[in-house]
Amino acid sequence: MELIWLIPAFPVLGFVLLAALGRRIGDPGAGALGTLAVVGSFAASVAVALTLAQEPEGSRQVTQTLWAWIPADSFQVSFGLLADELSLMMCLFITGVGALIHVYAIGYMKGDPDYARFFTYLNLFIASMLLLVLGDNLILTFLGWEGVGACSYLLISFWFTEPANASAGKKAFVTNRIGDFGYMLGTFLVFVTFGTIDYLQIDQAAPGVSAGTATAIALLFFLAATGKSAQLPLFVWLPDAMAGPTPVSALIHAATMVTSGVFLLTRLSPILEAAGWANDLIAWVGAITALLAAGAAVAQNDIKKVLAYSTVSQLGFMFIAIGSQNYVGALFHMITHAFFKALLFLGAGAVIYSMAHEQDMRRYGQLRRYLPVTFATMFIGWLAISGIPPFSGFWSKDEILAGSFQVQPAGQLLWVAGIIAAVLTAFYMTRLMLMTFAGGTEQWRTPAAESLPEVPGDDHTDDHTDAHAGAHDDHHAHHLTPEHNPKDAPVIMLAPLVILAVFAALAGLLNLPFADQLHFLDHWVEPVLEGQSGLPSAAVQWGLALVSIVGALLGVWFSWRVYQQHRVDRAKLEQPVLAHAWYIDDSYARVAGGPGEAAFQGLADFDHEVVDGAVRGVGGVTQQAGEAVRGIQTGFVRSYAFGIGIGAVALVLFAVVRMSL
């Protein structure tokens, strides 16, 4: 138990070593060192989790206060780690999936001039993420929250010499700032309300809080979550974040960081319980995000963009679960999603790697012949995300949908939205698989494919939508030639794929709905959660599950007809509105560029004229004061001595006057 600190200490050590010596160790030593740090952290997590599991249920909470961090009177912030069921579960999958992705990156980043820098950031990211989940108070979590954000920006713009990558990083930064305001205001409100920012103390005090305050706190933290977890209206940064190297997309923008909003709200479940309509808002924002993002994924041609919108959509599912107070469902889906989405991203990375860094799926086709291992593993990932039983995604998605069905009011509507999003998921994932691995022809062999427009039905390049500029992921832009013969990536990249495929297939075992003994996850996290709602009766659940299986198969079948059999013209489906993700990002850009820019200009003018004017005024006064001081500061000893004498006289006079009073 005393070893909790080791969990974040390993990656911190890795980061320090890599930052100091990384360049000297080089390729592949730096990668091995970075991986080792995460593996060490994973081992520590396992050890702590096993010890914790031996404790009786209900007393599996250990706080390890490392040191008093900001001891300021009544505002005490300790640098303390809280190991309980929730944080340990998070640690296990962060370090587990993280270690696999590190291994993969050893191969993927091979030969990159900034190899060591990459692993330095990656270790720092893992350390921050662990701090985020292990922190025993809101400030420490915020430190991790900002840390993962910083690493995310650094890694999105890892190949910063490409302006598009740098601007994608900036976009992520600015968008997340909005969410961070929510976090900070929420923290202030929590401190004002409860007089503490310690999770355990908040948990105890939460039942007594008024509904209005709880709602306000919940909304502020939800705003924070929409930023980090890419929900409406702040999701726009995530698709662009694909500009980063693919292992980053898998680790940060699919498996771990983007789920921190879900984690945060789960951590604050005692407050959410009292938050009334804020829960409905969370569920509906999640549902609408899931729908819109799934729609957008249908029309993307960049393989990573499909997966990015898919991630946004899947995160939407998790928020549906949070809003239905089905926290276990959210956590369950978070874990299964981490497995299958990391698998799919790494698989996509392997495809990109094999195809000379081409990311446009219209230039793939028939790759199953060339990349058998990649194909086989991604096939499992595809089954998992599409919701085909018995693969993991089915169980977790189904639990979320079942939980949403009985929300009052309008739970059925929520469920319908979820089912539609699920059907779309099956559709676009099948499309991805067919375009990449099947489809009849090897598209890259046809030279005409050279001049494909970025977005269908939108041939002219829209120059102020930088949004799509992030599409050119990978730095070393070798050209894909018609003579190219793809072959599977090296073993070091394929091994993580195989392991993840096993988990993606089997992770459903964590929480099978059939019998109470099989609800392992339920039982594990139950003590941490307040107000976990139950699920509908078994009969209803069976019915709902049947509908969702049929829906998934429908999606697969329709996709097959379009992309394999070509019975339907795909252009009719891939509308520009979808390709542009409902123009949400574009309208932000337009507002920011048009009236927004005017407003900003106005603000800037205001800033320039009034604020700066005031500052200049102050500066002027200060300058004059400075001149006056300079007048006193003559440099002559006699005038200095005179000043001291005057001061002495003043002090003595003061003392004497005081005495005579």
């Binding site: 300021a72 004061a625 400075g626 500061q633 002090l651 004497v656």
Partner: protein, 514 residues
Amino acid sequence: MSGPSVLAAALQDVLIEPAPGFEVPSIDWAGIAPNLILMLGSILLLTVVSVLKRRVPSWFAPVWTISAAVAAGCAVVPLWQRFADTGPETLVGGAVGLDGFSLFATVVVCIAVVFVALLLADYLPRESLESPEWYVLVLLSASGAVTMASADDLIVLFVGLEILSVAAYVMTAMHRRRVTSQEAGLKYFVLGAFSSAFLLYGIALTYGATGSTNLAEIQAFLAGDVVTQNALLLGGLAFMLVGLGFKVGAVPFHSWAPDVYQGAPTPISGYMAGAVKLGAFAALLRVFVVAFGPAYRQEWQPLVAVLAVLSLVVGAFAAISQTNVKRMLAYSSINHAGFILLGVLAASAAGTESALFYLLAYTFMAAGSFAVVTVVGRTGEHRQSLEDYRGLASVRPGLALVFTVLLLSQAGVPLTVGFLAKLYVVTAAVESGFDWVAVVAMLTAVVSAFMYLRIVATMYFADAPEGAPALRIPAATGVALGLSVVGVLLLGIVPGPVSDWANEAVAQLVVAAP
């Protein structure tokens, strides 16, 4: 009796021939070991180099100095244990206090000595000023600072102040080829003598009013039933405040500071900001908070509050209008003095702790910042203006980053020690009911942040001028820079152990055994 103590007793008999009727105090040599190491280190160094002359290698003096400082720092460890076991003591006939406060202060002084020795080791050869006397004076002044911090008697305090000051005057003026250095030294000396006179006069008046120069006896006297509004006593307090206020660089007794900090050899400026300030503040805390604290607080707190506010405001605002970085740092040290005065003003245990912690923090920040100024200044220290820092980030990114961290810490940005130092003093002042002074302090922190960020912006956003000279960071300076940044960040992130230690370092007065 063991050998050394017999020898020591014999020495004492030989050296101190007691006048008839004069009781020779027993001297606990072990108890004043850190101070002895510094003092003897200084004298021995002087002797060795006088005898061996040119045969002494150039590395000898800095290594000797650092060793002496480290040894003195290590000598604190058993004494701390002794303090923890038996509580505070007073030694040498009630003249020297052995308590947490004096021990903590000793360690900070030793840290400042290590920094200045590292910087001088590179600076002196560069300026062709190499001579071991610099190090002799550094150790001597350190001994003076430790004496001040552990004085239990006003006369001892005064002696310590003079040891410290005379060495500082000389070091300020010791750059032979820079006229500004000599001018600064002369100014410092004249004004220092002037203010010492005030201090001495204050001590005399206090003696007249209380009948003793011993702090414990003064405290006991005041605790008795006495007229608080005693003109002699109030006058004595006011004059002592003038003398010590001068040394800490508090407004309106600060006028020397910008000229002296700017004119002095840069490593010495950093040392003055660390050790000299520490000695003066330690004396201020011992005399005002401890001896005059319990019974007489209300009488001096308004005076200190005025000094604090003036220092905060003048330090912050005057710094903005400067264009010389070294002078900016000088004014900022006045602003920092204002912050530390908040800790004095609080007149509580929390205030003392916070002031000590601030002094420790400032020692790191000042040493590092002035080290950067040393490097950028190049031979002759001609490059001190803000212009010379343009584009430093592209020329020496590491150096710019180090300076940025140090400046952010001085500005009080979280995760650096500067933030916690400011937080602690402000908290202490608020707890003692000086909310308005705390508000002023925080407002001036914003003003001075502007100045610090201006330097940062110049380094990062301005282009380096054509033909900017390459800057060399010599090894020892590099070590000093590294230590200061590590200290600033480590103490900022993990303040616990050190702040806990500072918590116990509250000065206590013990009446000497008759």
